[in-house]
Amino acid sequence: MNNEQLSVDPTDQTVNGTTVTASLDHKPENAQIRRIEPSRGWVSLGLRELWSYRELIYFFIWRDIKVRYKQTILGGAWAIIQPLFTMLIFSVFFGRLAKVPSDSVPYPLFAYTALVPWQFFANGVSLSSTSLVSDSNLLKKVYFPRLALPISKVLSGGLDFLLAFTMLLLMMLYYGIRPTAHVIWLPFFLFMALTTSLGVSMWFSAMHVQFRDVQYAVPFLVQAWLFATPIAYPSSLLSEPWRTIYGINPMVGVVEGFRWALLGTHTAPGPTVLVSFLASIAVLVGGTFYFRRMEKTFADVL
């Protein structure tokens, strides 16, 4: 017989409700009415609700950042190492051996400037495409706008981007290249990288719930996309009108925009960037609608 267990009576003084505080201020005077019913066809984007859950998105981002480099030795340095080593490999094989032109900019800087936004895009897509499945426990037990998950995964890459971007500034300092006045356009290109990343993430994460093929296809796809984007080579290799058509890949506009704004290359802006911008918006809008449409099946399929 356990004495400790038997002597707990004094602790539950509140059991019979001697402490009825804060009663009755939960009356439905301005109660919002929520109607739960089957949705039909295309549903609204629910952006207002998403906005009201911004604190949750903030906490998801904060969780992802806190957890990302836990139990690693190099920690946040990985954010710099990844693009830096890719840049080194590119410099050796494409810059030195294959003598790929680099728009009269030192090749390492040429490649790295493109890799910084690329890394943000690629990491965002890879992380968020599996976000719904890896947090399936949440989806099955709690309600919140499901868009919050891929969005927060993409945004949590922002810190890595900042670190890698700082490295880029140091490199520019080393090579003695001063940013041009076009640098004020940089936020626009960053915004394009964000919309592209979010849009692609919506498509992949919603698909991944039903087709686990996505998790095997994404790394391959991202790699193919890397070479389909002018990172290791300049888009000036293409002549018009092909260069404009090339802009259908929204990352073309982002990468060339970054080079133009920071290094002063002559590849942008132009019709290419416009095409890329429209493409990135189309991907985002389409992805969001697709996501919202598939959303109702998530909890049942997972």
Binding site: G17, I33, V301
Partner: protein, 460 residues
Amino acid sequence: MTQPAIRVVDLSKEYHIGAIQKSGRTLRQVIVDAVSGPLRRTAKLLRGEATGAAELDVTHWALRDVSFEIPHGDVIGVIGRNGAGKSTLLKILSQITEPTHGFAEIHGRVGSLLEVGTGFHQELSGRENIYLNGAILGMGKREIDRKFDEIVSFAEIDKFLDTPVKHYSSGMYVRLAFSVAAHLEPEILLVDEVLSVGDVTFQKKCLGKMNQVRQSGRTVLFISHNMATIENLCSRTIVLQEGKIAFVGPSKDAVKFYLQSMVAREQPTEGGLADDNRWANPEHRKHRSPEDVVSYTRIEFKNPEGETIPFVRSGEPLVIRLHYCARKPITRPSFGVGISTEQGTLVSYVSTWLCSVEIPVLQCGNGFIDLCIDYINLMPGSYFLSVLLGGMGPIFYDSIDRCTVLTVEETDFYGSGRMMSPNQSIMLLPCHWEPFGPTEENGGAPQNLQIAGGAGPIHL
């Protein structure tokens, strides 16, 4: 007329549960399917239809045309067997999954608690998880800031606040998880069986917290398998059976209805609960007389009305019917029944001889004798029954050790609404507390005690 907090109309949910096994598929069909399958699925996907695992023919209605209304401030219980649709109902109301048809209207801010600790991250500290989990459950940062100290002290984890939760003991983990959840303050609370966590002390705290919620005038929909909790917390209870509402009414009646429906279901299969193997196996028959003059054939549990019951609830009467078969007439036999715990402790032994019940002679053939117990004052759990048949002097005709299991279900034995811990003791005392106060030499007169709440002991 005031609006209800929750209004549910014809709510139904259909699940796809598995494909019909296609038999006799030829290799050609397999190949054709392998080629055309992805195309077909892609086409379906583009039309926005369910594909993949959900692309199946067999469906199951987890919930079928359920309608009810819950007024503001009511605490409503939901009971039913596993798979009756309880959790589906809660999932639809908390918007985790969509109904197939029908609708529900909810007036007020909803908080749902389908599981404690949802979204806890192993690598984050207790402090960080409080914020994360709070946000997931729908609390704002400022709200968590305000309740932070309360949450920590309720969970009793002050010392480990900055330790990653992966190093927590399971008890600490659960306490922290429940504590965050318990501090959610929505107008309408949906709760799925989450009170059964932690040790005894903590369970008491949880139940106290639930009582507080009830008294603060909030609307609660509460799923539980614990009938005692349902009876005490909920004013009314819904019984779900196979996706439909089978009963709605005061909790006591609902629990009674539910338990009776369980009996009706179990009767044909269990047949009085006797464990056939034990009867057949002579190893368990210690003192069997070589001539086999008389032996027990089976045992039945009945209520005083004579209906067979699969289990008994604490505080309720029980009739144990011993069936025997005598091959020779026996003079002055003695029937004995022993009840022991699962651990083997003998709780009680009674016999006709001990009660000086004289049976002059036992005639040949089948017969039975009833042992009537006024009320079972055993803690909920499983008990073993042993039976003995003796004669005058040290003669044993039959004796079967642990021949059947007596299941005792929990009730509110003391009528207090407070939960008892299983394994805390064996026996419930039929008792009451009387005068309280200083003795006369200390200048006072003892007074009678007030009972704080509840219906009073149910066996009185």
